[in-house]
Symmetry: C2
């Protein structure tokens, strides 16, 4: 609009005025994408949820993406084929970016085993991308076998299962690396919070 010949003078084009910076100010913290990666059973989702609880108690606006809220919804049309797995990670990256633009701390908890796919999300999100490697040995993950998936994979019932029949490519330079096989959960969470404070994404804790 803004066209001088507009017949309808009550309509003037208005572009977005509420910027990311204004949202961050409203929320009292900066936004970012916290991208948890690691084997099934490495503790990504657990960590993300416990971290979210602490962030919420500090009055931060957060959201956790995991299989529960993405696989049946936004990515409900995707299979587990290689092509669709790539598209799955791409969409999650795009969505996390939008949440970040909305002033939210977006936490994603997906195996995301391939460097190239994580690299694409990093390139998309830019400096706000924080890769958190949940480093846990296959032995430990398999012994936990929370969902019984490793057992099935060993029987050959799940094709291309990360760690068993498909590779996991560990991050080379993650912003945060956690030894989730031995490090207590509380320490892991604190390490992330310390990092966020050091980057001034979170304001310093006052109380």
């Amino acid at each position: 609009m803004g066209n001088k010949e507009n017949k309808s003078t009550n309509v003037v084009w208005h572009s977005a005025t509420v910027t990311r910076e204004r949202r961050e100010k409203l929320h009292g913290h900066k936004s970012a994408v916290l991208w948890f990666t690691g084997l099934s059973g490495a503790g990504k989702s657990t960590l993300a949820h416990v971290l979210e609880e602490q962030l919420h108690q500090r009055a931060c606006s957060t959201y956790v993406f995991d299989g529960d809220n993405v696989r049946h919804g936004l990515c409900g049309d995707l299979s587990f084929s290689e092509q669709d797995r790539v598209e799955n990670i791409r969409r999650i990256g795009e969505m996390a970016k939008l949440f970040c633009n909305a002033g939210i701390l977006a936490l994603t908890a997906f195996i995301s085993p391939f460097r190239i796919d994580r690299k694409k999300v990093r390139d998309l999100v830019g400096d706000d991308f924080i890769e958190i490697f949940c480093d846990c040995s296959l032995d430990v993950c398999e012994s936990r076998d929370v969902k019984g998936l490793y057992k099935k994979a060993r029987k050959g019932e799940i094709p291309e299962f990360t760690g068993i029949s498909s590779p996991y490519e560990a991050p080379e330079n993650p912003e945060i690396s956690l030894d989730t096989g031995t490090q207590p959960l509380e320490d892991c969470v604190q390490q992330i919070i310390d990092y966020l404070e050091s980057r001034e994404i979170l304001p310093p804790q006052t109380s």
Copy 2:
């Protein structure tokens, strides 16, 4: 996890504890999906951005989805074929639902011409879906022709252009109907705010 035979005792399964209700309390308002629909040039995007500005000034957490932030990103793989248009609206609906769960007032500004597609989003989002019909005659929209699209469509350069070569199916029971061809912009915005207050999505204005 929660498996008593867990070898790694430091890992206990933690599910999500930060609920939508807690996020809404933090943000000081309820969340919803405000779905603007209408012809190209009817004022959807303008209205959404002006409304967002007012909501932000009331300390509300908001986000506007429009072609600018969706078409090249999350839906960047989609064409304008009928099938892909349906998928486009589906994904926007799924995403808006996630924002709503995150305690955000999600505003979407897409023509979304077909009742069946809007119905699907309504069914997905439930009671939080607020359909806002930007009712403006084709004549007025075409005379505005903000982006020069109608001119192109009349020349046959844009196939299946809503209102010209493809139908627009007006909502039958929208929560809000605005006469965006004649009603001043400020009145339209106020009408939406009044509605949100009446539904107690927004707290009453105190100042």
